[in-house]
């Protein structure tokens, strides 16, 4: 096909970049999870610096009071949000890579790609709307941006959901047409 040579030059680097970023964020997420689990361990909680950090860090203190749990548990919960955020970003890049791969293989308009777009939308909403924005508001956490809940990337998550729906309708229409031909 005449366009495939031209597009392949774009798709391959995009796929590589998506794979690399997915790996980076997945490793980051795993590392943060390891770190969160590690702070649950005895050595960390026994350490004086950790103690000083947890008792003075306002979001953790607020969360511990709100949920009625220990400071260490509150710290662990707040760390899990960061883990989820990084994992969602990794999932976003995985789906992007798969979408571009499907296009490279000659099937850009498929039900699977509509699903991938929807996944990308939900990942953005989870990462920036829920994990960043909601956490910042709920826990008054200064390390997260409160405006993220209505931020550009959350908004883009919804745009991706809409584009996924557009894809789905286009695919349904194409399938109808093929049925009639």
């Amino acid at each position: 096909m005449r366009i495939s040579n031209e597009t392949a030059t774009l798709y391959v680097p995009v796929q590589l970049a998506a794979a690399l970023l997915a790996l980076l964020f997945a490793v980051g997420s795993a590392f943060m999870l390891w770190l969160a689990l590690d702070t649950l361990g005895e050595t960390a909680t026994a350490s004086g610096t950790y103690r000083a950090f947890v008792t003075s860090f306002q979001p953790v203190v607020g969360l511990s009071q709100a949920l009625g749990i220990s400071l260490e548990a509150a710290d662990f919960v707040s760390r899990l949000f960061l883990v989820a955020m990084l994992a969602a970003i990794a999932a976003f890049f995985v789906q992007l890579g798969l979408l571009v791969n499907a296009a490279r293989m000659g099937a850009p308009f498929s039900r699977a790609n509509a699903g991938r777009l929807a996944w990308m939308g939900w990942s953005l909403i989870l990462a920036f709307g829920v994990c960043e924005g909601l956490v910042a508001i709920l826990f008054a956490d200064p390390t997260f941006d409160q405006w993220a809940i209505i931020g550009l990337l959350t908004l883009m998550g919804f745009v991706f959901l809409v584009l996924a729906k557009v894809f789905r309708h286009g695919v349904a229409l194409a399938e109808d047409l093929e049925g009639t031909v």
Binding site: L96, P108, A174
Partner: protein, 183 residues
């Protein structure tokens, strides 16, 4: 059958309404920013050139340079708001093609690319604005020494994504046209 899908799908319906709302909402603010900016700039200019001809825009504590600074901020804000308005106009048009029938057309690839270009322009504007503010503080406010640019990498990331999607769309639309040609 498919002409009614737009009415039946709540996400597309809300998406379209939301996009149209944001389009006009941002447009109104762009116009307001532009009008106020021009007015302030004119008043400031007049005050600089001929201080006694009009009532002063700036009170005694506010130097004229600050008044012009506000005008400069509005001069950056107005095109940024207008571009954002265009972004949502394009999105609304893409959603509308579902109602018209086939969304897999080359025009939608162009619209996605347009959205990407707008994101890129917004990134450039925020970058330029950051540099502008830094230059301003170097001249008028010697307490600021660090260059902090709020240019969001988000819009750059968004631009790249939209360019990729546009390419995928164009690819698919071309394949569709090829198929129709062979049938």
């Amino acid at each position: 059958m498919h002409s009614s899908t737009l009415e039946n799908d709540w996400l597309l319906k809300t998406g379209r309404l939301g996009a149209l709302f944001l389009r006009y909402f941002l447009l109104v603010f762009a116009v307001i920013a532009a009008v106020i900016g021009v007015l302030i700039l004119m008043a400031g200019m007049v005050e600089l050139i001929a201080p006694d001809t009009i009532s002063r825009v700036s009170d005694d504590d506010t130097p004229v340079s600050e008044v012009i600074g506000v005008a400069a901020i509005l001069a950056v804000l107005a095109p940024a708001l207008w571009l954002s308005s265009r972004f949502f106009a394009l999105l609304a048009q893409i959603i509308a093609t579902v109602g018209e029938g086939d969304p897999f057309v080359a025009a939608n690839a162009d619209r996605l690319r347009g959205m990407g270009v707008i994101s890129l322009l917004l990134f450039a504007i925020s970058l330029a604005a950051g540099l502008g503010v830094f230059a301003w503080t170097q001249v008028y406010d010697d307490t600021v020494e660090e260059l902090t640019i709020d240019a969001s990498l988000e819009s750059l990331f968004l631009a790249v994504l939209l360019f990729i999607l546009a390419r995928v769309f164009r690819h698919g639309a071309a394949m569709r046209e090829d198929l129709e040609g062979t049938v």
